[in-house]
């Protein structure tokens, strides 16, 4: 069941679009090798396609026809806004209406990013419109699925928090927002995708 939901995140699903969240990189590729080769201006030496014996085994969902690439700075910018929004909600106090409103907005932001892709994520849009033009092109791009998965993880925590607030189980709400805040902060400050780190462990447990 969860596996099914996750499948929806696989890049293999996204054969319809090459547009990405913050800018467009055309990486039409048959397989993972060429996708790695498409990484701009980074390790130019090793990025010819057809890399020897490598990756013969990526025969699963990780092999796909189109990869959506995102500007990692946009992802971190979004995470920073999420940190601020959630921190303000916490400081206001989770019994307050303002906190409920802020977390609902945050939940929508995460949910949209997870469900429709980062290019529709409101904070990502803000980055693209307001920040990105001042920064210029990024040195490198990264795959969309990991940050998109992170949005899903954030969404689940916010969902728990808002539900807990509705049922006035404030302690649970604090814990849930605390986790989401920690994950977003790690992303913004260190570029670590906590949800992604946990993903394999999760798969190990859930599938036989």
């Amino acid at each position: 069941m969860v596996g099914l939901v996750l499948r929806g995140f696989r890049p293999s699903d996204s054969s319809h679009a090459v547009v990405n969240a913050y800018e467009r990189v055309d990486c039409m590729s048959e397989d993972v090798e060429t996708a790695a080769g498409a990484q701009p201006a980074d390790q130019a030496g090793g990025s010819e396609s057809g890399a020897g014996v490598t990756a013969q085994d990526m025969r699963s969902g990780a092999t796909q026809s189109v990869r959506i690439m995102v500007d990692p700075r946009g992802q971190r910018f979004s995470a920073a806004i999420s940190v601020v929004v959630m921190a303000v909600a916490l400081i206001v106090g989770l019994t307050q209406d303002l906190a409920a409103i802020l977390l609902t907005i945050q939940g929508f932001a995460f949910g949209i990013g997870a469900m429709f892709g980062l290019r529709f994520q409101p904070y990502g849009w803000l980055y693209r419109v307001a920040i990105r033009p001042r920064l210029g092109a990024p040195k490198e791009y990264e795959d969309e699925p990991p940050p998109r998965f992170a949005q899903l993880v954030g969404f689940v925590f916010i969902l728990i928090a808002v539900a807990a607030m509705a049922f006035e189980v404030t302690a649970v709400a604090y814990v849930a927002v605390a986790f989401a805040l920690a994950a977003a902060f790690l992303n913004a400050a260190f570029g670590v995708c906590l949800g992604c780190q946990v993903y394999l462990t999760f798969r190990r447990i859930t599938s036989r």
Partner: protein, 170 residues
């Protein structure tokens, strides 16, 4: 007030975790010998440079004549061992550093003769993932010519470390 405390505590803990994670991520570690006789080999320290002041201080096998590491059968991944060394990379769909890791390892495999890079989709090989105790991706195993696991890195390893470890594995 509660919220403010939560914010401060969470940010403090996350900062500590982030710094710790960054320090530890991608560091090559010796793989403990399954055989307890391989207990002392301080010489190995020099091979990977300052890259691994292993905290525990008790993980140092790698006596070239007697290494008790585990042999990994790479034919299960549809590949052959390299003549000198094999770099096995476990990747997954939701993995930021996997692609950069792949670029590094592919580059080494192309420039160093006898070195082969194998990328394994962890989700399709959950049995080996469990056996090897792979918890997150990328996890990189460096095998010597006999297929014995000599080094292991969780996270994106530095290129120089891998090159040094490959040289040591021969």
């Amino acid at each position: 007030m509660t919220g403010l405390i939560v914010v401060v505590v969470v940010l403090a803990l996350a900062t500590v975790f982030g710094l710790w994670f960054r320090r530890r991520d991608g560091r090559l570690q010796d793989v403990p010998a399954s055989d307890s006789r391989a207990a002392n080999a301080p010489a190995d320290r020099a091979l990977a440079g300052e890259a691994q002041p292993s905290e525990g201080g008790n993980v140092q096998p790698a006596d070239p004549t007697h290494h008790g590491g585990e042999v990994l059968d790479v034919t299960q991944f549809g590949s052959e061992l390299g003549d000198r060394a094999t770099l096995v990379q476990f990747s997954s769909a939701f993995c930021q550093p996997c692609r950069a890791t792949k670029v590094i390892l592919t580059d080494i495999a192309q420039t160093v003769p006898g070195v082969v890079h194998i990328e394994v989709d962890a989700e399709n090989h959950l049995t080996s993932v469990r056996e090897l105790g792979v918890r997150r991706t990328p996890t990189v195993l460096i095998l010597d010519s006999a297929g014995v696991i000599r080094k292991r890195a969780v996270g994106q390893p530095r290129k120089a470390d891998v090159v040094a470890a490959v040289a040591a594995a021969v």
